[in-house]
Amino acid sequence: MIDQTTPHKLLTFTCHGVSYGIDVSFIQEVIRRQPTTRVPLAPPCVAGLINLRGSIVTTVDLATRLQLTQTPKPHPETMCVILNVDDEVVSLLVDSVGDLLEVPPPAYHAQPSPLSPNLEPFVIGLCRIADQNILHLDPHALCAMTNTEASYEESARC
């Protein structure tokens, strides 16, 4: 799945002080945070719906998705990274967007371990560049939300 010889091209961004990256091939665009419409009963990680030039796009809050609830939120300037995964457009809410990185193969570590259980399903690699660790995220895993039913049950009980 992960090609070991060619460099990874990642768009980096931060969330709760940690750097993450996603393959640029999945990135459609980066926009400022938009007015968001809440979706009641949706899974907690769904921040809501935004109007992206006439089409309705679901926004996923990265911090909630990765269950980074303990750390306080330092960034007021949130950004939306618009992903296009298998022709489905999803917006990812992050704290700030960084550079476009070309990671040379030696700096890339596939399947790093150990990872905390909340990150395990989403992280597919680790990049070490100039003392900075960048967690490589799997956009498919981020966008797959099969637990809608379960969380609906939960919120209905509240």
Binding site: P35, P40, L41, A42, L49, E88, M145, T148, Y152
Partner: protein, 715 residues
Amino acid sequence: MSEHDELVPGFLVECEETLDALDEELIALESTPQNHELLNSIFRRVHNIKGMCGFLDFTILETIGHAGEDLLDKLRSGSVALDGPRTDALLSLSDAMRAIVKHVREHGDEGENKYEDLVAALRAALLDSTNNAKPPSGINHTIEPPIEKENEAHALLHRNALDNYLRVDVCLLDTLMNLAGELVLARNQILQITKDTEDPTLRSITTRLSSITTDLQEGVMKTRLQPISTLWDKFPRVVRDLSHSTGKSVQLTVRGQGTELDKAILEAIKDPLVHLMRNAIDHGIETPTDRVAAGKLETGQLSLSASPEGGNVIIELTDDGQGLNTERIREKAIERGIVTREQSETLSTSQINSFIFAAGFSTASKVTNLSGRGVGMDVVKSNIESVGGQVEIESTFGAGTTIRLKIPLTLSIIPTLLVTCGRESFALPEVAITEVIRLNQTEHSAPVVCVGDASFIELRGALLPLIFIDKRLGMNDDSTNQERMIVIVSIDGRRAGLVVDRVHDIQEIVVKPLDSRLESLPCFAGATILGDGRVVLILDPSALVRELGLRRIESVESLSSEATDIDARAARDEHLIIELAPNYLGVLPLSAVHRIEKVPSDALHRIGEVPVMHYRDEILPLARVTTPKESVSGEPRELSVVVITTKDGAKGGLIVSSIIDIAQGLHSVTTITGERYHTQVGIIQNRSVVVIEPELVALTGAEDLYPETSPGGIA
């Protein structure tokens, strides 16, 4: 293949259309074998396909087409007569052609099957001429040439008419439809911005833009409308095949073929309709012998009709077969635990019949075999509902069944009422809304009655169940709004009031589906973008009302109409009005009330979960209604207990706060059946009350008669 490859796709489409028409004409021909015009038309169709095949080098198709043509020619000349086997042979010709066309479309060639049997059958049909049926051939031959000429002229005219039509890819229409939708949104945005403008030029331009957009949108929508006959034309064939295979005689009558529906909707209702039709013939209509025995016509009557009604189309499928066996359905429903026996007795026939729509209800049951209808009725229902339609069933045991489908004309652009609840706005489809009233919680004129977790309000002598949207959607915005609004919706004869904070104006919106990950949320039918660019969710009133588990409203008069004994009726009519908890009234039939006792609270004991008390050397199980408010205030020292005797002599006690009155004239009794509760509510002395069933008190004797959340409590 030949050098004419680019002609193939067009040929295939034409073939498919020709074959559909061919089927229809063959069936028609079977009943009117003397119809020369029809026969000529059939001949021409087969001839055309054959001709094109020679050109495009489809040899198998050409061979079978040729064999069919020969037979049709003989039929035309009158040297053989059309009978059952010949019709069968011609229909299998149509099937074979269709199969080849499909193969060409999918694989690019005609496939291995040479259809030699079919050719042999067609040739055999040629030879097997019955001499006595043969009309004098001379006459026919002299008549034929002018007919042929006339038909050619007719065909020419027909072709000229066809020149006005153009084949368009549906994808293109979809794109246009979406663009028209976007244009509507952009128009709304401009209207919003220029609303207060003083500039007369701008004002006139926006007005013009607005009307053009509306016309364009309607025009594009019309391009997607197709007459329902495009779907129904296949049905005579289905009916014929089914009646042959089941050995039944069925006549299909169709009305309203010209009724138009959106192509996507037609697609969606195709399978359910075929399924319903199969059910009607397979299970509904009896065998000829049974029919004669039942005093019916030997031929079963199946009628299909479509008619527009407002923004919907009503499709009705009626058969005069054996109808649904309500008793069996009731038994099965009880067996499967859908209702208890007690509950089932309060339900009407149509309520019980509707159980056949329950998922998996009939698949493994004997109901299917014995009384018909069933396999996959839940699928039919969900398919129809997925396009915003509704299904109703009406049946009289022994006399037949009518299934009524209510289908929206189009899917994408709908007028909606905008409402707000807390900080959120929602769009509510206007079709479902009957009226909007104020919920005045401060005045005592129409208090909200709570039963378990269900709320009601009295409206013009009837009880209206309420759904608090903020609560239902789990929104915790503190709403201190006392002046809330109730939007009354009516779904399938069931009414409910949706409580919202404010209502705004009506807007035409373009329905956009929710993200696939959010589709499973039950309350929303989609989302849309408003004129100001905001995204709002569209509430799905039918899902909300369905959740209430509300059945059709039946009045108590109709339920008790069988009672012949006037005294018994009068006695039954008298009710004891009791206060179960603060602001929570209930009634008990006076005939069931044995005594009213005052007991000290320490006389109560418990046996397991059930509170009991000693009463004249008997252990009396007790029931009560607890509300959250009461549990806080603590136990009073003395309790009023209404001792109840049921018809069967069982005794029980109901703990009440106080006794209010004895009165007659309980009316507007409504049954609510839900996952969490099953009860009846009604109105007496202009007060909303819960109708308490004495049997329930005596038999269950539970701590909490109408539990807030526990599903097992009462059902």
